[in-house]
Symmetry: C2
């Protein structure tokens, strides 16, 4: 029998993440890790997306403290688990492993809302199928240049609060130029999670991803 | 002679921070540690503040990578030092110690723009006189509830982008209720770093703090 020696925290984490993803695949579940700054609009984006989906969904809410977001999700009748990190600035695979034990779903999409932080969550896989970087126009157009790790690793970048773009100084060309340099094959959507703009395109793409995963 | 045994990273950091502050005090310098989410408007806030100040100023820019912000500051003829943390999600006292060596000022205010992150920078003193939590209305009104550490530790909380408050769902009472629970004696300002609203009040308060520090 092979004895695995875990060299460091990150390797241990990513080993657990891999196991989680294998287990989710057996259950026909797709899990999405949503990463963005505090106030980027992660919860509203998840709620608006679920509104448009036919498939079963659940949410895992990651926060330092408080259950503000999970109460919002529960109010829509959506299964939700709150993880309070108690100070830690990102979710890790162990936390997700524990949360998944209380979500007995199959054939579903699980949205994980990571702790509001554009830096640390990028380094920790949690067993997700892919990462979504959520950036809102009110944060400015230079985010890919200043926080490259997450924009490089995220298969999907969503530009949120597009309804506010007329009120702020946001140069789309500059934003996308930075993003494409880091992540030439990344997929992008522009949405307003308040008004609903762009959510249908994103939701249809998402359901298509789920179908592709499970027709294999 | 007392031999100091440094127990952990944070203690070592805070020991260096204390030494930095003592040195700055000898040079009649006040240093301010500005902490906020990515895109909260930290650079614009610093630039608008310096416009209103009579006293000499310098800026230390903390970023994961890129010199976007320090080039903005330099364009105004303000002395600036860029610190690239190379992945680390916060500034620490060692980094500031190195940066201060190339700022040979006396009788001045030094603004430190920390890495955009509402979590990790709260734990690391850098020798500052006080911390400023910068939160913008576009991030939502629940930030003190979800990221309590920084709102508890900051002597000053500045609510930025007040010019956009009419376009977003932001409940001032809820925001300030959360803040006051954590930090009953905290000082607050509301500003628009774009239009300049509230910057004069904050700048006058700041100059007054400097005078009070050095009349002692």
């Amino acid at each position: 029998m092979e004895i695995k020696i875990v060299k460091d925290v990150l390797e241990a984490n990513n080993y657990i993440a891999k196991t989680i993803n294998e287990d989710l695949t057996k259950r026909n579940i797709m899990m999405i890790n949503i990463i963005g700054s505090p106030g980027a609009g992660k919860t509203s984006f998840i709620l608006k997306t679920i509104e448009h989906l036919e498939v079963k969904c659940a949410v895992i809410e990651g926060d330092i403290t408080s259950d503000i977001d999970s109460r919002k999700v529960a109010a829509y009748g959506i299964p939700v688990v709150q993880i309070n990190t108690g100070g830690s600035c990102h979710l890790n695979a162990n936390m997700i492993d524990a949360a998944l034990k209380v979500i007995p779903l199959e054939n579903a999409i699980i949205f994980v809302e990571n702790v509001g932080n554009l830096v640390c969550p990028a380094s920790f896989d949690i067993g997700e199928d892919f990462k979504v970087a959520l950036s809102s126009v009110t944060e400015g157009d230079d985010k890919p240049y200043k926080y490259p790790a997450i924009f490089k690793k995220a298969m999907v970048t969503v530009l949120n609060k597009i309804d506010l773009v007329r009120y702020v100084d946001f140069d789309r060309d500059y934003f996308y130029k930075g993003l494409k340099t880091l992540n030439p094959n990344g997929i992008t959507f522009e949405v307003s999670s308040v008004l609903g703009d762009g959510i249908r395109e994103w939701s249809e793409w998402l359901e298509n991803q789920l179908m592709q995963k499970y027709k294999k």
